[in-house]
Structure formats: C-alpha cells, structure tokens
Amino acid sequence: MDPECSRLLPALCAVLVDPRQPVADDTCLEKLLDWFKTVTEAGPSLLLLQENPCLVELLFRVLKAHDPHPRVLSFSLRLAGLFAAQEDCFQYLQQGELLPMLFGEAGPLGGAAWTAPTVRSGWLQGLRSLAQHPSALLFLADCGAVDTIFSLQGDSSLFVASAAGQLLVHILALAMQSPAEGHPSPQGCDWPACAQKIVCHVEDSLHSTATPQVTQALNVLTTTFGHCHGPWTQGLWVRLSPLVACLLEKDPIPASHSLMDLLLSVARSPVGSSDCGLWETLAQTLSHLSPIQAGPLALGILKLQDCPQALKTQAFGVLLQPLACVLKAAAQSPGPPGFPEGATGDSMTVDTFLSSKSACVGLLCQALAHLELLQLLPQRPSPWPQAPLLRAAVAILRFCNGSAAPTSDVGGHLCAVLAGCVRVQRAALDFLGTLSQGTGPQELVTQVFAVLLEYLTSPDSSPTVLKKAFQATLRWLLGSPKAPSCCDLDPHTQLFLRELLPVLRKRLCSPCWEARDSGLEFLTQVTRHWGGQAAFRHALLASEVPELTRQLLRDPESYVRASAVTATGQLSSWGLYTTPTSPEHPEVQQESLFTELLHILSTDSEGFPRRAVMQVFTQWLKDGHADVAEDLEQFVARVLQVASRDLDWEVRAQGLELALVFLEQLLGHPGSRCPYAVALPEAAAPATLAQVLQALCRVQLFEFALRALFDCDRPVAQKSCDLLLFLRAKATPCGGPQEAGASPDVVSVEAALQRWQAGEQGQPLGELEPEAVMAVLRSMDLEGLRGTLAKSSDHIEKSPQSLLQDLLASVGVLGENEADCY
C-alpha cells in the first residue's frame, strides 16, 4: 500500500464507524473491498494489519458499536474474511478472538442486524473468503457455522440462499482436499467430519418431501459436480445416486429442473464417463418427464461429448417429437418417410398440444429453438433428418398462416391454435433459415420457397415476421445451387426471383417503415452476393426496384433512409443503379448518385443515414467505383470537407477510415507491420512520395486529420493519431527535419494546433506545404498522445487515493452541512 493511502486510512476507518456519518453509497464500499482484495493478493495481509492497526480497530469498533449500520457491518465481515484468507493473518486475528466475535454466535448472527439481507450476505461472503486453509475448517467446526449455512440455504433473499449453497460446496471441496486428511477414499467412510456433515445434510434434504429442500440439495450437488473434479466426487455420486434415482420414481418428479441440471452436470464431469448407471438414469428420466420438461435435458444430452448412441437417439427423438406430431397432423395421407423411430409423436406430446394454446405454442417454440441450436453443433446427430425437418417447418408455417387444410382432429386443433401466432411464425422462420445449410429434395425446396413467398406476400405478416421471412429467404437463395453448366443461377432460383421481385417492389412501397427497411436490407444483401450474376441483374433491372430504392433516399423515416443509402451504394457498385433521366427532358441528366449521397451527408438531420453514406463512400473508394475513379482527389476532398463538420463522432471517425483507405492506396498497405515502426521507403519512391504529400495537401487531409486529433470524442482522436503515425512512418524518408526547420509555415501550423487543443476550433489552417506539415508531425509526440488516448477517460479517478479521498470528502461535505444547519 502506498504511503498516501496509509495516511488516509485511519481517518477513513474513523468515519466508517461513526454512526453520525452514514456512508450514503455502498458502491464506494464495494470499490474499497475490491481495492483491499488487490492489496491482500499482492502481499502479506499480516504485514498490512500490523502496519495499519486502524483496520483491526475498525473491526473491533464495528463489533462494539451499539447499532452499526448494516452496510458497514457487512463490509467489515467481508473485510475480515479477506484478511483471514491467509493462514498467518487468520492466526493473528484469532489471537484477538476477533473472528469468533464476527462469525460466531456472539456476533451479528443473533442480533437485530441479522435481519438485513446484506449482513447475512456479508457473513457468507466473509466465510467464503476465509475458508482457504485447514485452520479455517477447524474454526468453522468450532463456531458451528455450517449449521447456520444450512439454514441460510432457504433464505428469503435469493442472493443469500445462492451464496449459502455455493459456500457449502466450497467447504466440502476444501475439506476433501485438505492435506491433513491425506487422500480420502472414494467410499466415504473416512471422510472428514465437516464433509460428512454436509453430505449427510444433502442426503437428508434429498429424502425430504418438501420440494424447496430437495431443490437446495440438488443445486449444491450440481455446483459440486460442475466445479470439483477430485476422485472423491466419484464416491459422492456412488453414495447419492440411489437417492437421486428415488426422486425420479416419484410422480410428479420434484424439482425436475434442478434434477435435470444435476444429471447433466454429473454427465459432463469425469464421474459421468465412468458410470454406466448414469446413462440408464438419464434414459429413464427422459421417458418420465413431460415433453416440455424433457426438451432442455434432451438438448443437454445431445451436447455431451461422449455418451452412448442409444441415449443420443432417444434424446433426439424427444426433441423431434413435437415436429413429428405436427407432420402427422398435417399429413393428408401417409406421406413420405418421416423421422427416425422414437420420434413418432407420442400421446404425451399430442396431449400437450391439445391441452392449451400456451402449452402448444411453448412446446413448439422450444423444440424449434433447440433443434436450431443443435443443427449448428459439430456433434449434431447423424444422419440429420433434413427432409422431414423441412417438411415439418413448412407444415408449421402453413398452420400459422391458415393455408394448411388438415383432415385430422389434431390438425384442426393446431390450425385453430396456431393461426396468426407471431411467436411460432418467428421461431419457425428462424429454424427454416438455419436448415438452409443443408439441402433437400427439389420438390421440398420448391415448397420452402413457396411458403416463404406466401409470408413475404401476405399483408397479414407482422413486421417482425416479415423481417424473419426476408432473412430466411436470403439464406435459402444464397444456399441454392448454381446451374451445373454455367456459373449463373439455376432455373428454379431464376423462376423464384421473378416472383420475388414484384413482392419486394410492393414491400418497398409499404406504409409500414419496418417493411420498407427489411426489404432494403434484403436487397442490399442479395445484391452483395449476386450483383455479378447475369440472371439476377437482368431480373432486377427489369423490375422497378432500383428506382424505388432511389425514391426511398427521401423517406421520412431515418432508418429507412440509412438502409436506402446502403442499398443504392451496393447497387451502384455493381452498376445496377442507373441514373434516371427525367421523362419530360430526356436530355437533362439528373444529378449523380454521388451528389445525392453527398447532399444527404451534408443535410440529413439524423445520424444513421449520414453514417451509412460514409460507409458507402469508403466502400466505393476501396472498390475503385467508377464515379470515384473519375476524379479521386475531388471525391476525397469533398467528402472530407463535409465529414469534418459533422456533429456525429461516428461520421468523423468514418471519415478518418476513408482517409486511411485513401492513404493506403497512395502509399501502400500498412499491412501487419506495427503502424508506428519505422517504415522502409520501398513502398513509394521519394519522387512519388512528394507527389503523394502534395495530393494530401490538396484534398486537405492534413487539416482534417489534425483537427480530429484534438476531437473531443476519444475514438476519433485515436483513429487520427493512428493515421498520422502511419503517415509519418511512411513519409519519414522524404525530407529531414533540417529542411523545414522553423519556417514561418511551421510556426503558424503549431500555433493553430495549440489553439485547437485549447478548444478554439474555428480557424482553418489554410494552404499548407507538405514539408511544413511533415515537420510539425515529426515534432509532435504522437506516441505519447496515443498512450494517453489509450487509457480510459477515468484512469485518473480510478486510483485508490482518489477513492479514499472521495469517501472522506463525501462524509466531509456532510459535516459542513451539519455545521451550517445548527
């Protein structure tokens, strides 16, 4: 601890125990504890206590106080725990009998303060920190803390209850690995008393008829198997698994969620891999639980690395059951083969479907979400029943939009329940989108596109459903195979596109802005991937979509304008954006897209469209867009000029990004090289370099970057700093410092920079000579600036001194107020 803090500490301790000066804000105490934690971890606590006797005194005084504030009491308990984590310090505190007074029955345990949850929580956390060594175990046994922890498991405060459970696990693990006990046998007859006590308590709880107690025991065990991997856990499972099995035989199964968590936790631990009984238990559980409860367990089983194939098949069957049920209900006649055996829509699932709308919707959404997760995993079941899953997803979507015509009773019921259900529609569309990673028989893929088109067309699709439908369509389109003969789109896709574009056109005219926005996003993505495909280009140009997109640049909704900017930018990159000529005067060319976007950048009142414009411009520069290449310098100069005035820091930062791309194109890529390492001049010959610098001066890139260097938004300044460092590294060989010296130019630039730094941004730099700029750059401590900028803005305020001063000051202010009042 630094001396300044040591000096402040006594005053602080005095303030903390002063009942007249309550600490108003317990985040200060939390910060203080964090700091003490780093201090105790860095050095011996004993020394700390000896050097700062005020700390022990603080603990004593809190104990003696008549009615200590719960926050301070809780803080003291936790602080004592932190100190006592080191065994020598523990002994030191024991000498003063301080620990029993804090944690024993004489302490807050029985007092009025115990009613405050924060005190109980502090007590538990203090013990959690303290329990690090064998002496602590003895202490816990002596003061009877374990029994208190047992009772706190059922505390009304969830934080306290959860902390109690975790503390038990921690004590159990500590007891079992304690060197004093050697290596305990897995059987448990020679387990240390403390461990025995905890395990017996867990056993008793498992026998209990009260579900909360069973839940507590199961949670303790789940944490144990999740965190402890010693050989003794094997013994623990051998001892407790019969009790767990008994729970599974009850009807209904108590605390089924916690039970499933436990089984999965055991299965994931080393215990699982060696215990065959566990797999049987899991199999039994799967078949006993209701479909909605079994879902998460089945998914957990399928995520396990090594588990028997039979169990995996069973678990997969559980996940597939709801979909199998849907398929069966939707079938007009016995159709093509469905899911593998074990997933044939059993009566329990059907019952759930029929019981209520919410149960039916819940089960379907859960099944779809689980299968979607599973599909992405490397260990997903193989063979993956792609075709029946596709059929099921299509069937669900048809139930939801009312286009299914089932003949069975269950089908009729599903139809009534699911019609217009947005939740299921969203889940099914997401799932269908994920299924696009696989293929399917052409006839099914046709059905998929048909149902997607129904959703895109239907006026009843809600905005979120429409968005999902667009996303799923995009995934299926991009996943569709190319025609074998040429590299163009296959005929089915072309056919679909012809139907899709009129729908997209209509969506772009929708009065609902979300629909317009989703449509534009879709257009951007498709164009990004297919802008080069002749069939797509042909279909798109024949549709009205590009003109409508241009129209939407003036949409009243800023999100839509931003999406329209991105879309037109993308279309233009692929030459799909034709500037329309006005019908009355075909000879008059309307303004180019660049001018139009620049207009948005300089006038739009919302940030989103302006940011989108900057991104489009940066992309155009990278791609060498025709409009840009025409007059590169003019393009960069105009964009930077507008961007530098923007109020939105993201736009300014994007401007620097564009400037960097421009620099890279002129000077070569910074590549993987450290940006501020001295670069060798091989990238550009000196003659060229001079021309480059001239060009940079012409587009006023220096002025833009130097202004940004003193930007009030840190990310902008950082980006600018990086850019200037890159430039300096590249340009160093061009002219030494002696050339420009202290020319009048340099002096005026430096003066301007000083004014900017002081916040006077008004004055421009005017015409600059490259040499002067380079001289200024060389004279600046850019590396230092970069270091400062890299630190977070509160790095000064975060120091421990500042924390202690703040605490004192806040109390001090209180004192002054008191003086004023009386």
């Binding site: 009312g402 019609a419 006026p459 009843d460 969506r507 005219c509 009065p511 009205e544 009243p556 909704e557």
Partner: protein
Amino acid sequence: MKLYCLSGHPTLPCNVLKFKSTTIMLDCGLDMTSTLNFLPLPLVQSPRLSNLPGWSLKDGNAFLDKELKECSGHVFVDSVPEFCLPETELIDLSTVDVILISNYHCMMALPYITEHTGFTGTVYATEPTVQIGRLLMEELVNFIERVPKAQSASLWKNKDTQRLLPSPLKDAVEVSTWRRCYTMQEVNSALSKIQLVGYSQKIELFGAVQVTPLSSGYALGSSNWIIQSHYEKVSYVSGSSLLTTHPQPMDQASLKNSDVLILTGLTQIPTANPDGMVGEFCSNLALTVRNGGNVLVPCYPSGVIYDLLECLYQYIDSAGLSSIPFYFISPVANSSLEFSQIFAEWLCHNKQTKVYLPEPPFPHAELIQTNKLKHYPSIHGDFSNDFRQPCVVFTGHPSLRFGDVVHFMELWGKSSLNTVIFTEPDFSYLEALAPYQPLAMKCIYCPIDTRLNFIQVSKLLKEVQPLHVVCPEQYTQPPPAQSHRVDLMIDCQPPAMSYRRAEVLALPFRRRYEKIEIMPELADSLVPMEIKPGISLATVSAVLHTKDNKHVLQPPPRPAQPTGGKKRKRPSDDIPDCKVLKPLLSGSIPVEQFVQTLEKHGFSDIKVEDTAKGHIVLLQEAETLIQIEEDSTHIICDNDEVLRVRLRDLVLKFLQKF
C-alpha cells in the same frame, strides 16, 4: 320471449324481439347483393352495354331476350336494379312498436318498413347514424334515379321460368319479394319517424322495458343496444369494433350480466387483418400511380373512407405521391366530408381533443385545403374540367352496378396500367366485376372490415358472460371455404343458439319476477315480524293496480261508502271480499323437543321414525300418527277430534303465527 328473424344476412340484420308485451325491431338492413344480378347502369351512354345480345333458352325460345342479356359469359337482368327486402310475412310489421337502429349501414331498408307495412311506431337512432344514413340513402336514390330505365323486368321471376335460367339467377332467393329502390319522399318520411338518442340515454318503452344505446366503436354514432326490464336484460350487439379508428371506443362493460346476448355484425372477412389490408391498399396504390396508372376505389361515401384518407395523408409524402390528385366523387361527397368534422362528441378521444386546439378532427380537411383531395357531386360539371391523370378516384357504388364507378370501370378497364382496389367487404369482387370482363386493369382485393373477429368475440363473451348467446347460423360453423378453420366460429358455453332467415326462436329464459311498488300509506300499515335474522314477514291485504306495465299495491278501499253521482259501477271498482284470514304459520318443529313435550303431556310409548321427507311420530297407545315434513304437518288420528285438537295445539306451540 321470441325472436323473429327477418334477414339471413349476418351483417345486415333485421330481427324482431317480442319482450314483455313490446315488439321491438332490431335494425333493418337491406341486402343489396341482389343488384349483382343486374346490368350496370352507365352514366354515359355505353355502346358495349347497350348492344348486348338477348338471352334465349336452350330450345331457342327467346321470350326473355328483352329482360335478360348476355354479357361476358354471364346472364344479367336488364332492368332497374332491385333489392332483397327483409321478410315481411313472418310477423305483422304494423305491430312493431319501435325500431332500434345500430348503425347507418343497418337502416337502409327503413323506408320499406315504415312506409309500406302500416308501421306506426317510433324509430330510435343516434344523430350521426341518421345523418350519414340519410346520405347513404340519398346517394343510392340519386344513383338509380339519374339513369332512368323504362323497363322493369318481371317475367324472369316466374318460378317456372327461373328454374330454367343459368346460375346465379337460378339460385337467387325470394325473387318475388325483390323491390325497386325507394324514392326521396319515402326516405324523408321514414327519417321523420326517427327520434334521436344519445349514448347511455335510457328510453322507457311503455313502462315495460328500458332501451339504451351504447357506443359500439364501429362507425360514427354506431351503437349496441341494451333492452332491459327490472329482472331481465337482453343485449343486442351489432357491428362493433375494438380497433382504434375514428369512432368512440366500444362500451363493453355495460353488456355484462345479460340473460341473452344477440350477436350480429361480425367481420365478413375474418382472415384479413385490417392493418395488413391498409398496407396492401397503400402499396398497390403507390405502385399503380408510379407507373402512370389510375386507381379506382369503389366505396361508400362514409365510414372506412375517412380512415383511408387519413392513412393516405400520412403516406403520400413518404411515397412521393404528393402531386397525384385524389378525387372523391359522390352526390353527397361534400356533406360526408363536412359531417365527419362536426360530430366531435361521437369521435374517439384523440380526435375529440383536436377540436379544442382548434383543429379539424380529420386530416382530410388539410388534404382539401392543399388541393390534394377534391370532391365533386358527379363526373359531370366541374370534374371534367379539373380531371387530370394519373389519379386516384374514390366513388360509389361498391357493387359496381350504379353510380359514377360504372363510368370509370368502362373508361379504365381496358388498360393494364390501371388498378381497381376493393376495400368494401359487402360484395364479392369477382361477381361485381363479372359484367366488365374481360378486364385488362389490375384488380386488388383488400377488404377492410373493422368489425369484431372471432378472437375478439371469444374474449368479449368471456368478459361479459351472458347466459345465452343468439347469433346467425353462419357464425356457428367455420366458413364453407375453410371448413378446417374451427377458430373461425363462435365458441361459447352453452353453445350459441343460431337463427336463419324466416325462423322464429323461442329465447331460452323465463321471466320469474315482476317488480311491484307498495304505496307509502299501505307500507306504513305493515307490521313486519322477524322470523329469522334478516328476514321479516308481514301479510298484506291490498288491491293490485296495473297500468302501463307498472304494478302498484294500493290500500284496500274502506268499506263501501255512498258512491255519489256514479251511476254504473265499473268492474275494477269491485271490492274484494275481505275474509277473516287464518294466521300464517312459520318455523320448524324440533322432533326431540316435541317428543319431550308430548311425554310431559302424558303421552307415552312414543316412537319416532325417520322418513325421506321428515319424521313420523307414532303414538302407539293412541293409535295416532303425526307426520312432520318440511312444509306440512299432518295429525292422523281415528275420529278423536279432542285428541287431534290437543295435539294440534302442541304442534302450534313450536310455530310462529302472524
């Protein structure tokens, strides 16, 4: 209580309720779908329509060729269009006491009822309903009268002839009762019989029942009705909406605790969500206009059009349509647009508050001010000077059989650039288009029906919990085209009672109580006796006086006094004989105590037997039975009157007399 169902159309109902000696007609909707069988009435001479070939029977018999014409593969009646009236034979309509109107669409048959059936009663409706109803009738009469047609076809209606006709003429029902449109005089006379009412106003009908209109949220001034007596309540729900459109929201709470709820006027398109349809309307409109095409919207002059104009007001700028003219053509266009702005108290809260700003509640005022929306009484006159294309035209009639819309169909039908967008759900758009086929113009069907859908109905029924629900039969089964959609029907417990045209339903509840007032002086004379805590009894001797369905107990007249100048006694003045009444008994006999009393009085050898209804006390010695039941006690002894009287007195000791 009986319900006479005069109309089979679920959204254009006409029912008569007989309730407590009153006869109440609930709505009188006019089924105009019959007009679809007729040729359109062109406003401007149409060579196509005037040169259609006559239709002849298969055997070449051409006696109908003047009346029936073939057009686009269908056969139409070439005559003044006729409407299908509500049933007039089921009940003598001159006995109807009052007619309750729930909204302006449901009163179009009113002149037929009030002017031609001997009706002498009163019609109740809210002011906007009457005013806008008048506009609708005026428009209808105007549309039909301004294209005079000499011919009125009747040969085809002959039953034997009709059988030989092609569909749909062959299947048309009740053609003999179809009538031509009424005249403006009849409209005025019918409307003069209307008495205006406000929401929640209580109207007494002959002292027997009270009727109250409630806001139904569907249209300006639209109402549901509560018909109640002191102990019975019937709710009549017709054309209600829970969506936030322009009218005042629906009053659901007042419908609670009904014995019977008559439910009509649900959405005709249960699968179409109005929001989605409005979106569809706007997108298609924009796409057509953008391509240089015109948009035709066949519509009524009031109702959804206000909401459509409001949507367009917000939409046209964003869709770049600000330069496109919108035309609203109807003989009543001006009145409709202006009426909508003056009924502030009938509007939803948002629109009401605008009035205080002060701003017009509907934004179409601004569209008119800025010349974006223009309205004309017809295509003749100013309109032809201002007409500019591409444009959007709102005009009637949605059946496409009369009105200015006929002209636009003829004008624009040939170009695929143009679009006709159907927003009114009352007519099948394919049938409406039949005489215009083949049609190059695009047709978009986006029916906007804001009335309750089945999900909303099931929530409503759960909330208001009526004992019985009565509805048209169409609502008790899924739509014929979607027989698997069991969600598209009313699902309630007990199942709804359904009705169809020309059916009489006995409503399933009996009246059990009637309220009777006691005159104060009579009440003063009563001496109630508490027989158990909270319940007191008193005997009353009085004269029950019944007049105007009110019942009053008056003190019995004093013993006869000379009646002065009256020569003849009226029967009601008869004085009932006041016999000396036996006291009334109450209470119950505790068997054990009774037995003890008997023993005290010297009876022995007493046996008590329990029976299903009570006890039998057996006095074996005296050969006597005392049968004690809940509501009677019998002493059965063999000709020993002294013993019987003794026993009777013992029994009476346990009972209270008054």
